[in-house]
């Protein structure tokens, strides 16, 4: 027993591994997630109310996950706090050591009677994951256009099929499991469209094949999905994407087109497909508001930023570790390896532990895998070619591309904030979570920043990840004094 109190935020593959390792090191662990169930995005399971007798039917690696879940839920030193949102991290006063105070709201999502609590752990592990990144295209705001992650979440987590006739488009290996889930749920997947041409994929995936072998779990999974898709006769096309969604009040058809390697549209190659749903993902955006609030330095090029960690997964903020997709997009096995390293050290485990070299190796292989992914699935620099003047760049405020262009041309030297106020892009309810990277990238280009200023992988320039309220809180909740840490949350309406 080290007696250290470790708070882990996020119960996805990274957070679960961190919790187990911290317990192994002898710490007391509080595992926190806004969701009702353990597992994060990867191990999305049907709700308890469904009383599923075969939940494993939809899961890769179910036995290992089920065992880990049992182990954590039954562990005397592990407290599992579901439906608990971290809405703020409060840094210590200058000169004081230790991680920030963790401000929590416990209760149903966005409810008004949640219990406020504050944790003051000895160590904080952030494992808050990512959300889909979707580039704008005409009609992407129509109902029936979903992120690929949404379709996946609804299929696995609620057994809901988003549409009868579906196109899956964007870039990245994630399109395959999503298409496989849709087929399993009963949708007709008309096509899976990977925007990058086969040559780019082949270069990225086949270079240094030994790296891939190290991520065999992942590769095996992809082969499995491909098998399912072939059996379901789903066409997989490269160098093609959805450039427009159309419909009256909801999506009724999409226009697809061939793309050159830089994602410029080959005019004349357009085809129209009747659909009732489109699922799109061009990659993932890490959820960086908590790391930024904690004071963690970021690495990478502006817009393609991740939390910077050292060999022990420690961030630059005292007492704060980071693991999983917030440190780089590399999939579940890498997230798990990072989580284990982070949890071990956060829990006060010895650097001489025998299991560590193997863990670190698998973490490093995960990082190689992330680099490979980025090479195989870059965002082509010419993608704005499919934007029209009326295409929304900010969904919340309905700022269109023409308005953004005008604002930048009228105030070429203006600070990003001025442009933001002029166009209102990024000021809506999502607080730029969706449009931030895109608007920043487009504005930089319009200001005449050399195309080279856009990172090679096409990811956007810096989006502000600074959100003092990491999750919405109501005035009434803020006004109530926080409860002592051991108070049980009320379950309103449960």
């Amino acid at each position: 027993m080290t007696g250290r109190q470790v708070a882990v935020v996020g119960a996805g593959p990274a957070g679960l591994a961190a919790a187990r390792a911290a317990l192994g090191a002898g710490a007391e662990v509080t595992l926190i997630d806004a969701a009702r169930q353990l597992g994060g995005q990867y191990h999305r399971t049907p709700p308890e109310e469904y009383a599923a007798s075969r939940p494993e039917a939809l899961q890769h690696g179910w036995p290992a996950f089920a065992k880990l879940r049992r182990e954590l839920l039954g562990h005397p030193r592990c407290a599992w706090w579901p439906e608990t949102s971290v809405w703020a991290l409060e840094r210590r006063d200058p000169g004081q050591q230790g991680p920030p105070r963790v401000h929590l709201l416990r209760g149903p999502a966005d409810g008004s009677h949640r219990v406020r609590q504050i944790l003051e752990p000895d160590a904080l592990v952030l494992a808050c994951g990512a959300h889909d990144r979707v580039l704008p295209f005409p009609g992407w705001e129509l109902p029936g256009v979903f992120t690929a992650g949404a379709a996946q979440t609804l299929a696995k987590g609620e057994r809901l099929m988003v549409g009868e006739q579906v196109v899956v488009a964007g870039s990245g290996p994630f399109l395959l499991p999503v298409a496989a889930s849709l087929v399993e749920a009963g949708s007709r997947v008309l096509a899976v469209l990977e925007a990058n041409p086969a040559a780019v994929l082949a270069r990225g995936w086949s270079r240094k094949p030994w790296q891939l072998a190290a991520q065999l779990g992942k590769a095996g999974e992809l082969i499995d999905f491909t098998g399912q898709l072939v059996r379901g006769r789903v066409p997989f096309r490269t160098g093609r994407t959805v450039i427009e969604a159309r419909g009256a009040g909801r999506v009724e058809e999409v226009v697809t087109a061939r793309l050159r390697p830089d994602w410029s549209v080959v005019r004349g190659s357009e085809r129209t497909l009747a659909v009732d749903a489109v699922c799109v993902s061009h990659g993932f955006s890490p959820q960086l508001e908590l790391p930024v609030a904690a004071g963690c330095a970021l690495r990478g090029t502006p817009g393609a930023q991740f939390v910077q960690t050292d060999a022990r997964q420690r961030t630059t903020a005292d007492g704060v570790w980071a693991a999983g997709e917030i440190t780089g997009i590399a999939g579940a096995p890498a997230a798990r390896a990072e989580g284990a390293v982070a949890g071990w050290y956060a829990g006060g485990g010895s650097p001489a532990a025998r299991a560590l070299p193997a863990l670190r190796r698998s973490r490093d292989q995960g990082r190689d895998f992330a680099a490979r992914l980025a090479r195989a699935h870059p965002i082509g620099a010419a993608w704005p070619g499919w934007l029209g003047p009326r295409t929304l760049v900010c969904r919340c405020e309905e700022t269109d591309y023409a308005t953004l262009c005008r604002a930048v041309q009228e105030q070429p030297g203006a600070a990003a904030r001025t442009a933001k106020l002029a166009t209102r892009a990024g000021l809506g309810p999502c607080q730029a979570r969706v449009c931030g990277p895109t608007v920043t990238e487009l504005a930089a280009r319009l200001r005449g920043a050399a195309p080279d200023a856009v990172p090679a992988d096409g990811l956007p320039a810096a989006g502000p990840h600074h959100r003092p309220f990491a999750q919405p809180i109501r005035l009434g909740e803020l006004a109530r004094p926080p409860e002592p840490p051991d108070a049980a949350p009320e379950h309103h309406g449960a």
Binding site: Y50, A57, P143, G149, A151, P429
Partner: protein
Amino acid sequence: MTARLIPAACDATGRREQPLRITVNGEPLDGIAGQSIAGVLLAAGRPSWRTGPSGAQRGLFCGIGACFDCLVTINGDRDVRACLRRAHDGDTVHTQRRDGAHHSGDQDASTVPRDSDSPDGSVL
């Protein structure tokens, strides 16, 4: 056709169904226990329930609480993300619109801007 729940009889996970009923703008809608509010709406054939500043229809986009497209009022609480909130029998849901009305204050720094029919101070 549109979104629908996989019928329990052919669901590979072998799930059971416990019916529930919510109302949406006063109209009853049937769902099953465990669904999110957004799930009940989608499965009931409603692809959209909120309107954007221009009046255009919006429904569920990200499904995991990032985009705030799916906001509804539940049992009097405004601006609840329908994709995150579990449905409970008897929930009363009202749809919201965002008409582009802006309110003052340093929104950039702290507030989640409200839909137009939200009362003052509902959500920071």
